[in-house]
Amino acid sequence: MNLRIPGSSKNRGPALVGTGVVVFALVVLWQTTQIPVSPLYSKVSPTIFPYMVAGGLLLLGLALIAQAWRGEWGETDAYSDDQPTDRRSLGWLALGLILNVALIDALGFVIASTLLFVCTARAFGSLNWKRDLGIAVALALIAYLGFAKLLGISIGAGVLEGIL
C-alpha cells in the first residue's frame, strides 16, 4: 500500500468523487421525503427502497471519502495522473454533442449527427475534415436508412429526411 500525505493533490479527485456520492445521496434522501405515502400502503410503502438506496449511498460515499483521504483508492491503470486530461479533445467532443442536441429537432438526424461525427473525429486528432465530412454524411445516411426504413423505427423529420 502506498501511503500518501492526506489531502495531497493525488487524493483530491477521489475525495471529490466521494463527496459527490454523499451529495447525491442527500438529494435522493430529500426527494424520497417528497414522495407522498398513502396510509393504505404504509406497511409496504413505496419509500422503503428509496430510503435503502439513500442510506446505502450515504454510507458508501462517506467510506469512499475516508478511503480517498487515506490514499487507499486502488490505483489502477484507468486512473493515473501522469497523463493530464486532454481539454482540447474534450472541448471538441462537447461541441459536437451540444451541436447535436441543439440542432437535431430543427435540422433532423442526418445533418446534426454529421456535425457530431466531424467534431468527434477532430477530437480524436483527425485533421482531414473533408474526408471526415464525406464519411459522416455517408454513415449518417446508412444509419438513418437502416433504422428508419429497414427496422421501421421513426427517427423524426428533418431537412434531408423529408427528401428520402
Partner: protein
C-alpha cells in the same frame, strides 16, 4: 428424453431459413463489435432493443444470442492482435495470446482461441440444455421471500465480490437501483424521483443508460486520456493449421477451461473474470512447460478462452430459469423479454417453449457459424481492426445518437444520454464498474416487487426473510460474500 424432444423442436424453430438468417446476422455483427475496441455486446443489444417492437420474439432473441456469442469470439481476436482487451474477461487472453502473436504465431493463437471457443461453447450449451429444466424444477418452489434474497445475493456478488473495490461496486449498484426506481410506482401510482418532469414518468429507458455509459462515457474517456492511436496491430503470421504439439497442448486446456467456466457462470454470481483467471492459473500449474508462461504459452490462450465462452453460456442458466441476469448483457436481454411482456423465470420454459428451445438450438447453430466466420475469414476482421480511431468513435457516437433519438424523437433523451455519458466518464476515470449500474437498474425494480409481495403476504413483518430457511441461507451467503474477503484480509494480517 423430454429435454431431448424439446431441443429437437427448438431446432425445428431455429433451422427455418429466416431464423438462420437472423442467427447469421447476429453472429456477424457480434464478431464485428467484439473485434472493435470500445464496442461490446451490451451496447449493441441495447442499440437494437427497438427492434422488439417490430420483430417477433424468437427472431429477436436468436439475433441477440448471436451477438452475445459472437462478441466472445471477436474479443479474442482483438486481444491477441492488439493487446487491448476489449473487456476484462479477455485480459488473460491478451497476456499469452499477444506474446504468441509477437513471436510470429498469431495464427496459431487465433486458431486455438476459436476452436477452444467452439468446443467450450458447444459443451456449455449442452450443459445449459440439461441444467435449465433441473433449475426450473427447483426454482418453482421459490416464493417472493426466497426470490428477494436470491436477488440480494446476486447484487452482492456482481458488485462487491467480482470487481476491484467493493465500495465502488456497491455505489454503482445503488446508483443503478435508483435509476430503476425513477418513474411511476406501479403498485401505488406515485411518481418517484421525476423532479416534476413529464418525460420521466415512464422511467428512464435502459437504452439511454447503457448507451450513455458504454458509448458516450467510453468515448469521452478515451478522448480525454489520449488512449487511442498508439496500438499497433500485429500482422497475421504463421499458419492457421495448428501443429500436432499445439493440438496436444490445447485440447485438455479447452476441456478444463469449459469445466471451470460453465459452473461458475451458471451460479447466480456470474462473471467471466474469475473463471478466466482461474483457468490461467490451473494451466500454468499443470503445464509441462511452465517456463513458457508469460512468453506465449498456447495453453494460456486455450484454457481462458474456453472458460470465457463456457461462462457466457453459463450466465444464460440463471437468466432463462430464474430471470436473474448476472452480466450487463444478460440484464439488457432481460429488458428485451420485458418489452415483449414476457417475464423470464421458472415459468418461461413452460409458457414459451418455442422461444426458449429455439434460442438454445440457435446457440448450437451459432457456434458452428462462428467458427467458420472466425477461422477462415479472420482476415476480414483484422481489416476492421485497422479502422482509424477518429472514424471509429465518430461512428460510435452517430449510432449512439440514432439509437437514443429513435426512442421518442426527443432531444431530452439525448441530453439525458450525454449526462449519463458524463457520469460514465467519471466512473471510468475513477475505476467504477459499469455492469452493476445496468444490473441494478433492471433487477432493482424486480427485487422491490418481490420484497413488497413477501411483506404483504406476511402483513408487513420483515422477519419473513429470516424465518424461511432457504431465504435465510441465501441472505447469510450474501453477508458472507460481502464481509468474507474483508475479514480474511484482517485475519491474515
Amino acid at each position: 428424453m423430454e429435454t431431448f424432444d424439446a431441443l429437437m423442436q427448438g431446432f425445428a424453430v431455429a433451422i427455418t431459413p429466416v431464423n438462420l438468417l437472423w442467427a447469421l446476422a447476429g453472429c456477424t455483427l457480434g464478431t464485428a463489435v467484439g473485434v472493435l475496441p470500445g464496442l461490446g455486446p451490451a451496447l449493441t443489444i441495447a442499440l437494437l432493443l427497438p427492434i422488439t417492437f417490430k420483430v417477433e420474439a424468437t427472431a429477436a432473441f436468436i439475433l441477440f444470442a448471436g451477438i452475445y456469442y459472437g462478441a466472445m469470439y471477436g474479443g479474442s481476436t482483438t486481444s491477441i492482435l492488439l493487446n487491448t482487451p476489449g473487456e476484462s474477461a479477455t485480459i488473460v487472453t491478451a497476456l499469452e495470446g499477444n506474446r504468441m502473436a509477437r513471436k510470429g504465431r498469431a495464427a496459431a493463437a487465433l486458431a486455438t482461441a476459436a476452436i477452444g471457443s467452439f468446443v467450450a461453447g458447444t459443451i456449455a450449451t449442452i450443459g445449459l440444455t440439461f441444467l435449465a429444466p433441473v433449475v426450473v424444477e427447483f426454482a418453482l418452489k421459490f416464493g417472493p421471500a426466497e426470490y428477494f434474497s436470491l436477488m440480494v445475493l446476486a447484487f452482492v456478488t456482481v458488485s462487491a465480490v467480482l470487481g476491484s473495490s467493493a465500495l465502488r461496486g456497491l455505489a454503482c449498484l445503488f446508483f443503478g437501483i435508483w435509476l430503476g426506481l425513477i418513474g411511476i410506482d406501479l403498485q401505488t401510482g406515485q411518481p418517484r424521483f421525476t423532479f416534476g418532469l413529464v418525460e420521466l414518468l415512464d422511467g428512464i429507458n435502459v437504452i439511454v443508460v447503457a448507451v450513455g455509459l458504454f458509448a458516450v462515457g467510453e468515448t469521452l474517456y478515451l478522448a480525454a486520456r489520449h488512449r487511442y492511436g498508439n496500438d499497433e496491430v500485429i500482422p497475421m503470421t504463421g499458419s492457421l493449421w495448428m501443429t500436432v504439439e499445439d493440438w496436444a497442448r490445447s485440447w485438455k486446456a479447452w476441456l478444463r477451461g469449459t469445466f471451470i467456466g460453465f459452473p461458475i457462470g451458471a451460479m447466480p454470481a456470474g462473471g467471466a473474470e474469475v473463471p478466466t483467471f482461474l483457468s490461467y492459473y490451473v494451466e500454468k500449474k499443470l503445464s509441462k512447460k511452465p517456463e513458457e508462461f508469460g512468453h506465449g504459452a498456447i495453453e494460456g490462450v486455450a484454457g481462458p478462452e474456453a472458460a470465457n465462452n463456457a461462462s457466457a453460456a453459463g450466465v444464460l442458466v440463471p437468466m432463462l430459469t430464474l430471470g436473474l441476469p448476472t452480466s450487463a448483457t444478460a440484464a439488457i436481454m432481460l429488458s428485451a423479454f420485458q418489452s415483449y411482456g414476457i417475464n423470464p423465470g421458472p415459468l418461461l420454459l413452460q409458457n414459451q417453449p418455442q422461444l426458449v428451445w429455439g434460442l438454445i438450438a440457435s446457440l448450437y447453430i451459432g457456434n458452428v457459424m462462428l467458427i467458420v466466420l472466425n477461422l477462415p475469414l479472420v482476415g476480414l476482421w483484422v481489416k476492421i481492426l485497422q479502422i482509424p480511431a477518429p472514424l471509429l468513435y465518430g461512428g460510435i457516437l452517430v449510432f449512439a445518437t440514432i439509437g437514443t433519438y429513435g426512442i421518442s424523437q426527443s432531444w431530452i433523451d439525448l441530453l439525458l444520454l450525454y449526462a449519463i455519458g458524463g457520469v460514465g466518464y467519471l466512473m471510468r476515470r475513477y475505476d467504477f464498474p459499469a455492469a452493476p449500474v445496468i444490473i441494478g437498474m433492471i433487477l432493482g425494480p424486480l427485487a422491490e416487487q418481490e420484497f413488497r409481495r413477501a411483506m404483504t403476504i406476511n402483513q408487513g413483518d420483515p422477519s419473513v426473510f429470516l424465518t424461511k430457511p432457504l431465504s435465510a441461507v441465501l441472505l447469510a451467503l450474501a453477508l458472507a460474500a460481502l464481509l468474507g474477503p474483508h475479514l480474511y484480509r484482517r485475519l491474515k494480517r
